[in-house]
């Protein structure tokens, strides 16, 4: 066991537990963005940084395994410096993000949006600057890919590669121009993507979303000539109960 202090209070956790999980076990919530349990622990977005005594710079909580070398260290999860850093990280992300929230499929259910609210972003154009302009891939029957809303967290890449063993999307180019896309900028429909949508449910923002066919259903319902017959899958009812449905 490793004895550490979190915000000054003593705790002891199993060796190898990350700072994030150690805090969670003791009721302390650290915000995350790019971390997806088991498949995407890469420390890329830097939202989950914390202060740790003895460290030269802030430490990403999601990928720091506590060991005997950390005995007795004190971890500050919400110090002013930490909160300021998390806010600046968000402002940097926004500076290269298409902030068209009002027309976005994920408005109200977007993790970037929620974090901006939680961490008090009050000037979304604080870091004005050049933005990438990527083409939007609408080639597939089931989804579209809008990389102008992508924050490079790579959760979708992890889902496609680790869950599905397919990996037709990934990080291409380098630096600011890095883009999550298919090989040679190919359309998703020309790749062996099996349209399973695991990347969509992994995506924190509106960069990946299913194609909306509801207008066609409304049209059919309104058409007196047509008889509309609807069948529902068993699994639908298991996830329909989410609060946002029943206002």
């Amino acid at each position: 066991m490793v004895n550490i202090k979190i915000n000054g209070i003593e705790y002891s956790v199993e060796e190898g537990t990350t700072i994030l999980e150690a805090c969670r076990q003791n009721g302390i919530r650290i915000p995350t963005l790019c971390w997806l349990k088991d498949i995407n622990a890469i420390g890329a977005c830097r939202i989950c940084v914390v202060e740790m005594s003895g460290a030269r710079s802030l430490t990403a909580a999601c990928v720091y395994p506590l060991s005997k070398f950390d005995e007795g260290k004190n971890i500050l999860t919400h110090s002013p410096a930490v909160l300021e850093s998390r806010k600046m990280t968000l402002q940097l992300l926004l500076s290269n993000h298409n902030m068209d929230c009002l027309a976005c499929a994920r408005s109200g259910n977007c993790e970037l949006q929620a974090l901006c609210k939680e961490l008090g972003v009050d000037d979304s154009s604080y870091f004005e600057g050049a933005k990438n302009e990527f083409d939007i891939d609408t080639s597939s029957k089931h989804m579209y890919r809008d990389d102008n809303k992508c924050i490079n967290c790579r959760r979708c890449v992890a889902a496609c590669e680790k869950y599905q063993g397919i990996g037709v999307i990934g990080a291409n180019e380098r630096g600011f121009k890095t883009e999550i896309s298919c090989a040679f900028g190919m359309d998703l429909a020309n790749t062996a993507c099996v349209s399973c949508g695991q990347c969509i449910t992994a995506c924190p923002t509106g960069a990946l979303s299913e194609k909306d066919d509801t207008d066609k259903v409304w049209e059919a319902l309104a058409d007196p000539e047509k008889v509309v017959v609807v069948q529902t899958a068993p699994a639908v009812r298991a996830s329909l109960g989410r609060l946002s449905v029943i206002r």
Binding site: R46, Y64, M88, T89, L92, G175, F176
Partner: protein
């Protein structure tokens, strides 16, 4: 398979011959003279290969090809004077040699025996006779440990390396020392990483040996990525003395219990790659790599892995990720490489120069090494002197030598009588050192305390004509291009930082922008995942610290004191110097210059695009830029 005895035999056989190159008369050696020609990248680019061929041709013509041996060596260090040729035992130092000088040198010096003074390096020619190389200013204060063999032995002949105690350290380690002894020696020597971080090498090896006891495989890696622009120390060691790195890595393998090593070399160094390939092949041939080395049962082998153009791969975890065949993106630490590095096995990664010191420490002992340098920075450091300096080249100085000595005494000062402004160390991760710190002893901790860092050794000297804001912008442009793009602070932060610098150098910035920029710098330093991001703001922070007035000039007065930032310059015609010859008006691409013939002309600054064509054509120096 070779035994220690055979190793010693080779050494004995060649030793006397090698002494010729240390200035003693040729013993029973068949050759009476050795002519060493520099085969480093700089000199090769200036045609030293042609010089060698011409030399061989001329020697045959004069029938003395069996008396004079021609050897292609590594870099001597004084690149500014390349191509370089030295004739032993006299040690006559011919500089800026051209092919057409060869016939004269051969007939006059090599045949008749009188040195062609006209072609010698001027400084060595004094009225009291020819000064030897080591007395010249460039070499006097140097102390060559890592560069010991560079410019002395032929890098493509393992036996010349063996002749100067090559692989004796490995023999000593394998036959007389336990792995723990080796680590203790390195610890006691106080050797710290020469890649720039300065982590104690002994400690790194100790961790790799002890952290994971039952690892089925461990790795020894060499960081020869040397991505810092303006740094070429590692290149010179690899091109001049590749075996020292091979021997040191074998010793490291024995110390931590690894049987496989990788050297990660930049693809931009073809000559170094070639020399390493030859050296590894010869080492295997002589049984100094592979199974049962020197009959001691120790097994160690080495492979080359080429970089492919990514500065970030100089960072240790990125380098390992690259060797694993991926995008060279750094990994979070811990786990540190000593616990889980290459292919998730315990790994040590040291810089070329760090390894170059190891055999010497083993042979001469930790105290010998600890006697050099300062209290916390032991030994010597190799610097690559470049930029606005006379003696561009390679300099190895004991830690503690001051910057003034390096620039003025060894470096020969600033050309064209210009004023020294700053020295930049540590490349894109480093900072600048202004005139006020010229007398600071160079070592890890001092450089960090003044906001710069040791870095790998690139030392770029800048004079009054360099604009420090422009230099900071240059480094940020580099980092933006070389960032791997994985983490937010570096991917987006450095881009915003670069845009802010562009705003300043184009005269559109406000004082508030300066504060915002400084805050962004500390944010990037504090939040980036790896060393590249954490140090990317250093060039900005250190220029802000020492040259704040230049920033203010750009922001408040909209002026660039050094006359570099195009947008802030205005071209003006000095009325009394202008003869009205209309040459400038005709050259101006945008018709911004007006005036009648023979009358002083004037430039309409609103139209002027500041291309400088008028200034270039004016014969009377009537056009100035401020």
């Amino acid at each position: 398979m070779m035994t220690v005895a055979e190793l010693d035999a080779i050494k004995a056989k060649l030793h006397s011959q090698m002494m010729l190159r240390k200035g003693s008369e040729a013993g029973e050696d068949t050759y009476r003279k050795h002519v060493l020609v520099c085969g480093g990248t700089g000199c090769t680019s200036s045609g030293s290969m042609g010089i060698i061929n011409k030399l061989n041709e001329e020697l045959k013509k004069n029938g003395i090809e069996n008396e004079v041996k021609v050897i292609k060596t590594g870099c001597f260090g004084l690149c500014a004077l390349g191509p370089i040729m030295i004739v032993y035992p006299e040690g006559s130092f011919y500089s800026m040699v051209k092919e057409e000088n060869i016939p004269e040198i051969v007939s006059e010096h090599l045949v008749k025996g009188n040195v062609v003074e006209r072609l010698l390096y001027s400084e060595t020619v004094t009225d009291s006779g020819i000064k030897s190389l080591n007395e010249t200013n460039f070499y006097k204060k140097q102390h060559r440990v890592a560069l010991r063999n560079c410019g002395v032995i032929s890098p493509e002949n393992i036996e010349e390396y063996i002749a100067l105690d090559g692989y004796q350290a490995l023999a000593k380690v394998l036959t007389q020392m336990t792995p723990e002894d080796v680590i203790q020696t390195i610890l006691d020597s106080g050797l710290r990483g020469r890649g720039g971080g300065g982590f104690p090498t002994g400690k790194k090896w100790q961790l790799a040996r002890n952290l994971v006891k039952d690892a089925d495989q461990k790795y020894v890696c060499c960081n020869a990525d040397e991505g810092d622009p303006g740094a070429f120390m590692d290149r010179s060691v690899l091109e001049g003395d590749p075996h020292v790195v091979i021997e040191a890595m074998a010793i490291a393998g024995y110390a931590i219990g690894a049987t496989q090593g990788y050297i990660y070399v930049r693809a931009e160094y073809p000559i170094a790659v070639e020399r390493l390939r030859i050296a590894i092949g010869q080492a295997r041939e002589y049984g100094l790599l592979g199974d049962n080395i020197l009959g001691t049962g120790f097994k160690f082998d080495l492979d080359l892995r080429l970089g492919a153009g990514a500065f970030v791969c100089g960072e240790e975890t990125a380098l390992m990720t690259s060797i694993e065949g991926n995008r060279g993106e750094p990994r979070p630490r811990p786990p540190f490489p000593a616990e889980s590095g290459l292919f998730q096995k315990p790994t040590i990664l040291n810089n070329v120069e760090t390894y170059a010191n190891v055999p010497q420490i083993i042979l001469n002992g930790a105290d010998w090494f600890a006697s050099m340098g300062t209290e916390k920075s032991k030994g010597t450091k190799v610097f690559a002197l470049g930029g606005k300096i006379h003696n561009t080249g390679l300099v190895e100085i004991p830690m503690g030598t001051t910057l003034r000595e390096v620039i003025y005494e060894i470096g020969g000062g600033i050309p064209n009588g210009k004023e020294f402004k700053a020295a930049q160390t540590g490349g894109p991760s480093g900072g600048c050192i202004p005139a006020e710190h010229l007398d600071i002893p160079i070592d890890y901790d001092n450089l960090i305390s003044i906001g710069s860092m040791m870095g790998s050794g690139g030392l770029i000297v800048m004079d009054e004509n360099n604009c420090m804001v422009d230099i900071a912008k240059f480094f940020l442009e580099f980092t933006v291009d070389e960032s791997c793009g994985k983490c937010t602070p570096c991917r987006i932060g450095t881009k915003r930082l670069y845009e802010m610098l562009e705003k300043i150098t184009s005269g559109n910035a406000t004082l508030e922008d300066l504060d915002k920029m400084e805050k962004l710098c500390y944010y990037i330093k504090n939040n980036s995942l790896c060393g590249l991001g954490q140090t990317a703001p250093n060039p900005v922070l250190s220029t802000l610290r020492y040259f704040k007035d230049e920033y203010l000039a750009h922001v408040v007065d909209k002026k660039c004191p050094a006359g570099v930032c195009q947008d802030l310059l205005t071209y003006k015609i000095v009325a009394d110097k202008c003869k009205g010859c209309t040459a400038c008006a005709r050259k101006c691409p945008v018709g911004a210059i007006s005036g009648t013939v023979k009358e002083p002309h004037s430039i309409d600054t609103t139209k002027c695009i500041k291309c400088g064509a008028c200034m270039a054509t004016c014969k009377f120096g009537a056009i100035v830029k401020e």
